[in-house]
């Protein structure tokens, strides 16, 4: 029994592992594409490091702290928060295009789960992207704000776990939005709204900067789990807060997986495949 289960688990892992590797190969075939995103990420980090420097040189920053952040932690926060956006923030377009172009009908007859296949295929290259931005962010952060304070192996492991959860949550939420193309072809507006809310709630600014009511409202949404959680874990969270942030991420991730499966089942009933 255990032997059979082990073989099955290996076969499933191999299948989705191959999907991930294929996605990664496609991404690596066009290395030039990395130059643009590396430059844009670096530019954003530089500009925001200047903004935070100016903020902490202003009257409000006279004590050295605003909302519990000092200049260095604010810069490091931004560096980590943007990794979630640059590494995992653009799944939607490819997924929505697959639905609109009819590519989805090709996948339906294959011996793998539609959701699982897309997840593996998208996450393979995205993980490498995130790793590149992490390395670039580390170099830039060290240059612009000094080495990160209180950053040991424990915090590094928690950060990686939180980034993986954030990336997966990004994927499933974006897939759920992309699948609205089964009903509404022009669905880009949904993603834009999602993207901008994610930007405001915890990416450009730590949530502690928002007014109290906005903070309370944000806590009821999945947005803090996308950028705020890994960034906060990287710069400030202690063990209890880190555990709470990761637990909330896991809960939202499970919810998003269930949502995707439900939307997919509904959508499949709506799908009519024509072709020859």
């Amino acid at each position: 029994m255990s032997h059979t289960f082990g073989a099955y688990a290996f076969a499933v892992g191999r299948k989705y592992g191959l999907a991930g590797a294929t996605g990664l190969k496609t991404r690596l075939a066009y290395l030039g594409n990395y130059a643009g995103s590396i430059l844009t990420y670096g530019l954003f980090v530089f500009v925001f490091s200047r903004i935070w420097t100016a903020v902490f040189e202003s009257k409000a920053g006279a004590t050295g702290f605003i909302a519990g952040y000092d200049r260095a932690t604010a810069i490091w926060y931004f560096i980590v928060a943007e990794i979630s956006v640059f590494g995992f923030g653009r799944f939607f377009w490819r997924l929505a295009e697959d639905v609109k172009s009819g590519q989805v009908s090709y996948l339906l007859g294959r011996p793998y789960s539609f959701v699982g296949f897309h997840y593996a295929e998208a996450m393979g290259p995205a993980l490498v992207d995130a790793l590149i931005f992490l390395a670039e962010g580390y170099l830039l952060g060290t240059l612009l704000a000094g080495p990160p304070a209180h950053f040991g192996p424990g915090r590094a492991a928690a950060l990686i776990l939180s980034l993986l959860l954030a990336g997966s949550l990004q994927f499933f939420l974006q897939l759920a939005l992309a699948m609205t193309a089964f009903w509404i072809e022009e669905n880009a507006a949904f993603f834009w709204i999602f993207q901008k809310l994610a930007l405001i709630v915890g990416t450009l600014l730590p949530i502690e900067f928002l007014p109290a009511r906005a903070q309370a409202a944000a806590a009821c949404t999945p947005f803090p789990s996308l950028s705020y959680a890994p960034a906060r874990i990287a710069v400030a969270a202690g063990i209890p807060e880190g555990l709470r942030l990761v637990s909330v991420q896991v809960a939202w991730l499970l919810g998003a997986v269930v949502l995707c499966e439900a939307v997919y089942r509904l959508a499949r009933k709506n799908l009519s495949v024509n072709g020859g």
């Binding site: 500009v47 903020v55 507006a189 901008k196």
Partner: protein, 267 residues
Amino acid sequence: MEKQSRIKAYARFLGASFSANFLAVIEYRVNFFLQVFGMMLNNGAFALFWGVLLGRTGGIGGYEFTDVMIVWAITSSAFGLAHVVFGNIRNLGRIIMQGELDLYLLQPKDVFLNVLASKTIVSAWGDLVYGLIVVALLPGFGLGRFFLFCALTATGAVIFAATFAAAESLAFFLGNSQAISSALSEFLLSFSLYPETIFDKGMRWLFYTILPSGFIAFVPLAIYRSLDWRLIPVLIFVAVLYAGLSYALFRAGLRRYESGNQMGARV
């Protein structure tokens, strides 16, 4: 006299290109309004960011919330106008590299203007409108400031278009210059959207030379704040200078152009 009639002819040509491009994009109305709305939403997210940050910290580097919004409004509308009228600027390098200029070379109008004006970018309409909405909502807005804003948008658009076109024209000399032109565009836009004073004094000379954010956003901010028309002729002179240099670079490059022998048609 002949010069005047040529200017009129080119103004008519630009008008005709603009209306043809507009009619083409408005054909897909839902897509048009979605993209315009999306771009306004994108810009609005940054307004919220500044509102929250400056609400907590007060001004930074001598910039209050209103100042940042004026910079955003002028830059956004200027960037939008440049891409609405000259929507092909960001494709110029690819067109040169793939030898697709032949189509424009055979037509009687000036190649540079003809290529640039042969397309409009839909999302840029969102940028253009966003800037107008923002300044209209700011305190002290009236007819005088409206006309001043239009003048600043126009000079900014010419400087944006000239700089982007010059970067794209490097394709004549370097072949694939996509990385350089994308970097230059990204830097120019980013530096034009944030307060000048947050950047080190040592790098500010860049804003008045190869990355002319100073003439697109920072000088216009001072003019708009003081409602002072006297500096407008200076900005017009700067815009003409940038346009002239960009045109000269394109013409110099055109001598090195090699046709791609492609068949093509403009419909």
